[in-house]
């Protein structure tokens, strides 16, 4: 017998499942900064592109937090609308930056086996968004020891 949940129930359950799974292990979602650095070691061009990725992911995370904060404070007013637009633009710029990084990794001879355990599919908009949040929050883990 094949049982499938309706789409609406899946949407309701996803945060619950994520949360319950998340409790099992706090750091499994974290991005390995060391492995990313190792991937670009010895190549100045790639190192600069990785810096761009870090900066852009930070900008995206900031835009998400500001967007959610504005919506929490004022619902769907003018500021929230502006923050939402900024978030969308930043998401697109983040995907472009990740795409450029992957393109140059490929040019430098890196294989999918080396890149994709660490990086998202650059053609997937949500994957780039999730990656940006995870990468930035991983950096945030280092600020308090």
């Amino acid at each position: 017998m094949h049982f499938e949940l309706p789409e609406s129930s899946r949407e309701e359950l996803t945060p619950f499942i994520q949360k319950e799974l998340g409790k099992a292990s706090v750091d499994t979602w974290m991005v390995s900064l060391e492995k990313l650095e190792a991937l670009v070691e010895g190549d100045e061009g790639l190192q600069e592109l990785l810096e761009d990725v870090l900066d852009q992911c930070l900008r995206y995370t900031k835009s998400v937090v500001e967007d959610l904060d504005a919506k929490a404070r004022e619902g769907f007013g003018e500021e929230a609308e502006e923050k939402g637009k900024m978030r969308t633009r930043t998401h697109e710029a983040t995907q472009d930056t990740i795409r450029a990084f992957v393109r140059n990794l490929v040019k430098a001879g890196k294989t999918p086996d080396q890149m994709y355990p660490l990086l998202p599919n650059p053609e997937s908009r949500p994957a780039c968004g999730y990656f940006a949040l995870k990468l930035t929050l991983t950096r945030g883990a280092q600020i308090i020891k």
């Binding site: 998340g22 706090v26 999730y130």
Partner: protein
């Protein structure tokens, strides 16, 4: 017990401090910021990594396709 709205506000406030610190990486964290972060953690009953985890879950749930 925090309601969902208050919990989200705390997560966003905490995230703002984290982002501020990453942006100014070499600068020492302001005493007031550290104290407020500590207060938020106590209010939420979570340590720093668990706060990041909660922020990750909350923000990821709002990523558009």
């Amino acid at each position: 017990m925090l309601d969902e709205g208050d919990r989200r506000k705390l997560l966003l406030e905490y995230a703002s401090f984290v982002l501020k610190q990453i942006q100014g990486e070499d600068r020492k964290m302001a005493e007031g910021d550290l104290m407020r972060m500590q207060e938020i953690r106590e209010e939420a009953g979570l340590d720093h990594l668990a706060m990041l985890q909660e922020i990750k879950i909350f923000t990821s749930g709002t990523v558009s396709r």
